[in-house]
Amino acid sequence: MVNPIYIFVIALFSAFLLPVIDKLGRKVTLGVFYLSLTAIFAVTLLWFRAFGEGALIENIFTAGSLPPFSINLRMGTIEAFIMLFVNFGALLGAIYLYGKLLENKVYALMLFLTLIMGVNGLIMTRDIFNIFVFLEITSISLYALIGIKQDARSLGAGFKYIIAGGLASAFLLLGIIYVYRITGNLNLDLIISENPLLLSKGGLIALFLVVVAFLIELKPWPANGWALDVYEAAEPGISAMVASLVAAGMVFVFYKFIPLLPHSWHGMLILFGMLTFVFSNLTGLKQKNARRLLGYSSIAQMGLLMAVLLLVRRFNDAMDIRYALSDIAAALFVNHFLAKAGLFWLSGIINKEKARDWSFNKQPVLVLLFAVFIFALVGLPPFPGFWAKWTLITKLAQYNMIGWIVPIIIGSLLEAAYLLRWFGATIKREQTEQVIIPRYKILPPLLAAIVLVIIFPSFAPYMTGMKTMFFFPLLAAAVLWLLDVMPERMRGMVMILILAAFGWYIYPLAKGIVLIFEFMFIAGGIVISLASLNSARPKQGYWEFLVMLIMSLALIPLAKSSMEFFLAWEFMTVSSWLLILRGKNGEKPALTYIMFSLGAALLILTAFALSFAETGELGLVLLSNLNIYAIPVYILLALGFLVKAAAMGVHIWLPGAYSEAEDEVTPIFAGMMSKISLWGFILLFGYMGNKVLGIFELPVLLGWIGVFTAFFGALMAVFQEDIKYLLAYSSMSQLGYMILSVSLLSHLGWTTALYMSVTHLFFKGMLFLAVAGIVSRIGTTKMYEMGGLIKKMPASFISVLIAIIAVSGVPPLSGFGGKWLLYTALIEKGWYLQAGLSFFAGAIAFLYLFRLIHTIFLGQLKARFREVKEASLWYIVPQFIFVGAIMAISMFPNLILKPIMAAVETQFPSHVNWDGYTVITALGYWNGNAVMMITMGVFMVPLIWLLVRVNMVQKVEQFNIVYAAERPDRPETTHFAYNFFAHYQKAIGFLVKEQITNFWNSVSEWFHSLSATFRHIYTGNGQTYALHIIIYIVVLYSLLGVK
């Protein structure tokens, strides 16, 4: 193997000779320069491969004597791993800086080389004074390189950096010399083995000084203002180096010192790491400058990494180099390293200071890169951050360190908040000017992104026992993305074919309740997707995310382990979020949606982690074996699913998400995605049954939440002016019924829930599709702007009519079955008051349903819609498929009730008898078929009477109304639609004052003002920053309790 010393040799040799070579011309110099970097990278690559094949750790001695008498280096698996990325990053960084390097003096090349050498040295050396030397080489090269951009800002930032770095190295030097004085040598390994010597008071102080110096280099909160300034002001190529390469070196040095640290220090240091993670992210919330924002994120990630480095020491897992990334810290490191460097590079390409000035949605390459980096940072699958977070939280739970999960969750959410907000805003902003992309500048982020994606197989250890099909959503999305050249409708057909094939593939795997869900997702997905074929306009990213969403939905019920479940869950979250973001005004609702969804996901993750901690396995079945953690797991899962179901209190994401998503997607959200929370509850109750917390039976509590959701959802729907908002709240209300009935934990209850969810899919699909069709024709979603469309869109009217009769539960259509089952089940269980309230909610549903159909189809047609045509067939056909389905199950409820009851019977004993078409429970009976027949009969009699006399009927036009002996002026003033239920608002509108929205808004506001408060510590004054460092040292010292 090549002696790693040659890394130094190559770097130094070319650095020393470059000024001379430069006489031959800059091209030659650059050639040598890139050659050297490539050679260095090649050396590390060789080593990495060797370790992959099982090589042993190698110590490299210098000066012909053995340590501790001479300096030695070490090349081990971890070193090789880190250096691989460092040198890869260095190469990319150098490529990125090509332009700058070309135009600046040769010094820049030399400095770059020494910087790389310094970092490599930091990683390899085992001599503590040598660490100091390499640190200084790194720092000084960096100080000089920051000056590549010569303006007052970057110089000021650089100077602050030097002050901070100088202080850190001063303390480091003091510490090192005292460590030497006490242990008598400078070799790290020897010092570690003679650790007890350092446990004296003086020794601990010396150690403290060393550690604190590296902490400061890691930019801990709040002593990190100088670093932020550098990130903000320096040339982005350099910032990328600071955030990735240099940080990697520092982290690794810190890692080297960990064995020296007394155990009593760990907790406090982890705390400080976590504080950095949380507070940097918090402060980032308010940040408007793109690079400074990245700076906050970098610092936060470093804090997390530091905490994790200390935490993972308790996990005692052996690291396998073949799967280097199976180490949490390594995965976090790689994730951060590539993503952050990539983002900094991107920021250099876009070259806009303010994050809100970024806009490049017409340049797919940039969008894609941005997405990959942001998603990786947020920790979405399949990027390393996802696996790292998953493992970290499960391990923390397993090793009984649950408390640490809290800051991780809070910090992650805060980080997601500003990153995803940024992402959403950037993607949505209309691009006005072309971003010029020099080829050499786009290459590095491109490579980084590719690596982020293709290191995916390295996570194989996480995926043991996981079915391949859980990656099908990604695969399908990728396939559709590659088919981008095809005509849009063709792509849609392919997507539907994929769904059908997928349905065929999973059909044998599903039975019972799962089969019902699969039926809803696949069949419903196919039918609803038909509507999206209506336009041949290219829709970037539409089919991809749609297929991903539907497939991940279908996969969730098939999940056998919590890993599978969570992965599919995250795929679902991401794809649905992106679909919302595609909507015209989707930016804000998408953010709210993703924040709540991520919050829910993290709750679920924590629950799974706790379950893993207790049972030691990931199988979902094991939820039923839980004992110690049963209650917390139960509550966490329930909370997570409640958020997804948009239950009362956490519903505020729903209206925006549903209504701002594209019209063709909303039926999928409302009809299918919302049901996934129902599946969650079925899972939860199915495995864990009833649990009692204090005097509360948790399902009873959930039932109350459900019924209040139903009630308030309905009430809020009544007061909406926007049709999609109305339907969204209506969905929320319906979900409330389902939560209520599934919480009953009885045969009838579950039957109700499943029956409702299937019928809800049908009628919500119809309603949203009808609305989509209408909106596609008239271009507004405000109901009071519509009116009288029945004559223009009779087919849509019929479908909406059938749907609202079904939703309201009026016999003879299928909705009544749901209501009947619900009340029967509730009364059977003894939940009387719930039954009363849900009856009230059901009555309120009439209000919004009538308003819906009236203000759209009835009343006065507006002049500008006089030429409107019926919605396109692409909308009508799926609606009538659903109409057919509803009519069928209304006529023959057995079609659906019998399979559902049979499926539920595996869980609960059935008390239901059948007599022909009559369902007989202990309480009552219902014959859907007979009701249908009788209704049709009694309907025919008066109809015939009217038809007999139809001749005398004169058909009139819309203004032929009695209008107090006047003629109507305009349709707008004659159509009663706005504030339709004004008196209702007057009577009980106070119940739906926006208190919950206000609550969440104030939570957000509170975080933002907290952020604003905290960031004021960064005064911009270099001296103050120095003082921060001193304060940090003193405070940490006193908290560590060095004695």
Binding site: I790, P794, F797, S808, V810, P811, F816, W820, T824, I827, G830, Y832, L833, A835, G836, F839, F840, A843, I844, F846, L847, F850, R851, H854, F857, L858, G859, T918, L923, G924, Y925, W926, N927, A930, I934, T935, V938, F939, P942, L943, W945, L946, M952, V953, Q954, V956, Q958, F959, I961, V962, Y963, T974, H975, A977, F980, F981, H983, Y984, A987, I988
Partner: protein
């Protein structure tokens, strides 16, 4: 059902006819009663029937569209259906109706069928007063349904069944077995709700004749109006029959049915003659206040004590 389809249709027809005629006459009688109370003669008690004939005898009519045309059909189909799902006279083959098809909840929800259809028809007329009237009617409906539903739940708890026939059966054997006496709270709540359902004063804002010329049916006339008026009689009887069955021991023969429905309707008339009109939000608040509390008490008393 032991008899054939044709027989049951004939029975249903008889039952419907009796109910409709009785319902219309009941309306006429009440008009007479009120007139006597005013010191007038009042119209003849068969006046409603003349009105219906007159309306059907109209030579012209206009239609605003299909839904407008079908609205009254929905309305009367709702009335007929509701009635047919209620066993009219306990133990009677002819007046047993189609109660085999569903139970109490079916009846409660079928009530909405007609209202919904009517609302849609009225909506298509394009007249703003119709829409305003419907908005008021629906709002008020949600409010009085709550005490009514609570009362029903209380009854279901009390008798352990949703089957109306069984509920009537349980009340047989003396006046003290009536729900009126065994569960007075539920009865009171339901009777207050009934006032709302009947849309007499003080809950008549929906059809405020001068403000929004009789509200939803403001555009209906001729034979459409004829159907609506027929339904008014029939539907009235359906409601009264339901209340009779649930709270007043049902009826074992035609005569007791006449007496009981008359009595129950009398309550509405007395209340209507004694009170002025509530505004919509006042009536909503009213129903969500005392009657709901009574209903909750009824549920609590029967369900949990």
């Amino acid at each position: 059902m032991e008899h054939g389809l044709l027989i049951s249709i004939i029975y249903a027809f008889i039952s419907l006819s009796v109910a409709t005629i009785w319902g219309l006459l009941l309306g006429g009688i009440m008009m007479k009663v009120v007139a006597r109370a005013h010191g007038r003669f009042g119209p003849p008690f068969w006046q409603p029937i003349i009105d219906i004939i007159k309306n059907n005898a109209r030579r012209t009519s206009i239609s605003h569209g299909i839904m407008y045309f079908l609205g009254p059909v929905f309305r009367i189909a709702g009335g007929m259906g509701t009635f047919l799902f209620i066993p009219f006279i306990y133990g009677s083959m002819v007046f047993g109706n189609f109660s085999f098809a569903g139970d109490l909840f079916l009846v409660m929800y079928f009530i909405f069928f007609g209202q919904l259809g009517m609302a849609l028809g009225a909506g298509e007329s394009g007249h703003p007063y119709s829409a305003i009237g419907v908005a008021r009617g629906l709002s008020q409906m949600t409010a009085f349904e709550l005490p009514f539903a609570l009362s029903i739940i209380s009854i279901v708890i009390q008798y352990g069944t949703l089957n109306i026939t069984s509920i009537v059966a349980a009340q047989q054997g003396g006046i003290l077995h009536w729900t009126l006496f065994t569960n007075p709270l539920a009865t009171i709540a339901a009777l207050i709700a009934l006032q709302g359902m009947n849309m007499h004063n003080p809950f008549s804002i929906v059809i405020a004749p001068q403000e929004i010329p009789i509200g939803p049916p403001t555009e209906y006339h001729s034979n459409f109006l004829g159907l609506l008026q027929t339904n008014r009689g029939l539907f009235n009887i359906a409601k009264l029959a339901l209340f009779m069955n649930l709270y007043f021991g049902g009826a074992t023969n035609l005569f007791s049915m006449l007496i009981k429905t008359f009595g129950i309707y009398m309550i509405t008339v007395i209340v209507g003659a004694s009170f002025p009109r509530f505004r919509t939000e006042q009536s909503i608040r009213f129903f969500l206040g005392v009657p709901t509390v009574i209903g909750i008490l009824a549920v609590l008393v029967t369900g949990y004590f």
